[in-house]
């Protein structure tokens, strides 16, 4: 008993003599957001400070690149800034609550009900308006994963405001398809290291609602790899910071209201380029054709050799398959 007390005191002494750090202190475990770090590039859109950058001549055709999640960020999509060298103005932004953009409470989204999706559409409108230098400037959207869903939904609501649309593996456009895809793409074996890594950490860190630093850090620990979607190895520097609260809130809204992101797409006349990966085990050609069926005029392109994240993020696949196909598609418009 005496020995146990000595050991306990030794450990406590060791801990007590070090500088106290707290998990939710900005900058400790996850990077600061644009409202906490004025040095980051940002724009103010619809009452939110968004982390954003643009490359290329301001008057060129606008390509807005939309990241996945909800709650991921545009860091691994920066590969596509090479489109600027082909005469385009390429815009990247982290959606509110995601990446390095400003955080909002869980209720901020859920209290809007179905309107939470409109909030994301309005934000995209705001980003386009911010970077547009003239009313006739063409706008192309490139959306990856959830970004593809958002881009499709926006296009269906605003068919006259979008001149070209590229979607890369949107899980689904109807809620039932999204649910199916998400469930299958995360169906890790209970016995696997991936499941263990995701679950065991919850004994160490369990943030409360709206403790963004803690929840984002924990969510970021899971975004490393997924052998179901073909992303077998972690990629260094693939993301800045996860947005755990918006992710949970948007799924809650989706579960409750079953939004249809394919609504109005029949009004969109230009062709759509639909990309999917060769290594994603649940995004088969049959699934791609099923999801792409919502578009009136669609070209499917399978990006071989990569998984879900690699369609744009993998520099090799980007330069040899994805970018050439996107450029060819844009030139056809």
């Amino acid at each position: 008993m005496k020995k146990m007390m000595i050991a306990f005191m030794a450990v406590w002494g060791m801990v007590s003599c070090t500088k106290e750090r707290v998990l939710n202190e900005p900058g400790n475990l996850v990077p600061r957001t644009v409202d906490q770090d004025p040095g980051l590039p940002s724009i103010f859109v619809n009452n939110a400070l968004l982390h954003a950058e643009a490359f290329g001549h301001p008057d060129s055709t606008l390509i807005v690149v939309i990241h996945g999640g909800p709650g991921s960020d545009y860091r691994d999509l920066l590969t596509s800034k090479s489109l600027a060298a082909h005469g385009y103005r390429v815009v990247f932004y982290d959606q509110r609550g995601s990446g390095l953009s400003q955080r909002f409470p869980h209720k901020y989204y859920t209290s809007l009900g179905r309107g939470a999706v409109d909030l994301m559409y309005d934000e995209l409108s705001g980003v386009i308006a911010h970077f547009r230098t003239e009313v006739n400037q063409k706008v192309y959207l490139v959306g990856h994963s959830w970004g593809g869903i958002l881009a499709a939904g926006y296009t269906g609501k605003n068919p006259d405001k979008v001149d070209g649309l590229v979607v890369a593996e949107p899980g689904g456009l109807k809620w039932e398809d999204i649910e199916t895809y998400v469930k299958e793409s995360r169906s890790f074996s209970l016995w696997s290291e991936l499941f263990n890594d995701a679950g065991f950490i919850e004994q160490f860190i369990s943030g409360k609602t709206d403790q963004h630093e803690i929840l984002d850090y924990r969510a970021g620990m899971l975004g490393s790899k997924n052998d179901i979607t073909g992303d077998d190895a972690p990629v260094p520097g693939n993301a800045w910071r996860a947005g755990a609260v918006i992710n949970a809130a948007m799924f809650e809204v989706g579960d409750k209201y079953h939004p249809d992101f394919s609504a109005g797409l029949e009004q969109f006349q230009p062709p759509v380029l639909f990309l999917y990966s060769g290594r994603n085990k649940v995004y088969t050609s049959a699934w791609a054709q099923h999801i792409a069926g919502a578009f009136k005029n669609v070209q499917l392109c399978k990006v071989q050799g990569v998984g879900h994240e690699g369609i744009i993020a993998n520099s090799g696949a980007w330069s040899t398959i994805t970018e050439p196909n996107i450029l060819k598609y844009f030139q056809s418009l």
């Binding site: 290291e193 004994q203 260094p236 910071r241």
Partner: protein
């Protein structure tokens, strides 16, 4: 060395789920093995030694839990402490358990070492050959050391390593447990729900469960 550690840890638990009514028939020491859900699929070894504290029956306990997965021993949880029967009225008994916890977690991004505590109360009906009881407890991560990998630093170079306090996390759990005894052998089953300390957030695995076997000697 590892096997020695496991063996020693294994000698230390099982008393966590114990039939107090059968105690007079048991020997001083109990060892056990288990398989369960505890924020992952986990294998466990345990040891308990019966003692008397202020004329009350008690157990000194220790256990070692290791989750499944391809990487062995990158994650584990060990507990050491005691369990005491406080109330005894005919078949009804109430016991309390206090354990210190040391656990480790590692993935591609970080290695965490944590000191914590686990407090629980168990109340139920205990007979010579069987028991059924309800339990409720709180597992708290009190202080955690973070050491991030080069992979995480490629993501965020200014991450601050070191000890983080005060409490970095905690989970409440509540459920039922039942068991059967035959001679010096016992099998038990327990299952229940887990909730994060804010009572709002559900963990990825919002349930716990354990099936185990013990033998006294």
């Amino acid at each position: 060395m590892i096997s020695v550690t496991l063996m020693v840890s294994g000698y230390l638990s099982m008393a966590q789920t114990v039939n107090w009514r059968a105690m007079p028939d048991l020997k001083k020491n109990i060892i056990g093995i288990s398989l369960g859900l505890d924020h992952s699929v986990s294998y466990g070894l345990s040891y308990g030694r019966s003692v008397t504290v202020a004329k009350l029956p008690a157990f000194i306990t220790a256990e070692f839990l290791m989750p499944s997965g391809e990487e062995k021993l990158d994650d584990f949880k060990s507990k050491a402490g005691g369990q005491i029967r406080l109330i005894h009225y005919r078949g009804f008994q109430f016991s309390a358990r206090v354990q210190g916890v040391f656990r480790r977690y590692q993935n591609d991004f970080v290695r965490m070492l944590n000191f914590g505590s686990d407090f629980a109360g168990t109340a139920g009906l205990y007979q010579k050959k069987w028991f059924i009881a309800a339990e409720s407890g709180f597992d708290k991560a009190i202080v955690t050391h973070f050491k991030h990998s080069a992979l995480y630093r490629a993501k965020y170079g200014n991450v601050v390593d070191g000890w983080y306090e005060p409490s970095t996390g905690g989970n409440f759990y509540y459920g039922i447990q039942t068991g059967f005894n035959f001679k010096s052998h016992s099998v038990y089953l327990k299952a229940g729900s887990v909730r994060s300390q804010d009572f709002k957030t559900k963990p990825l695995l919002p349930y716990y469960g354990q099936v185990g076997y013990t033998i006294s000697f």
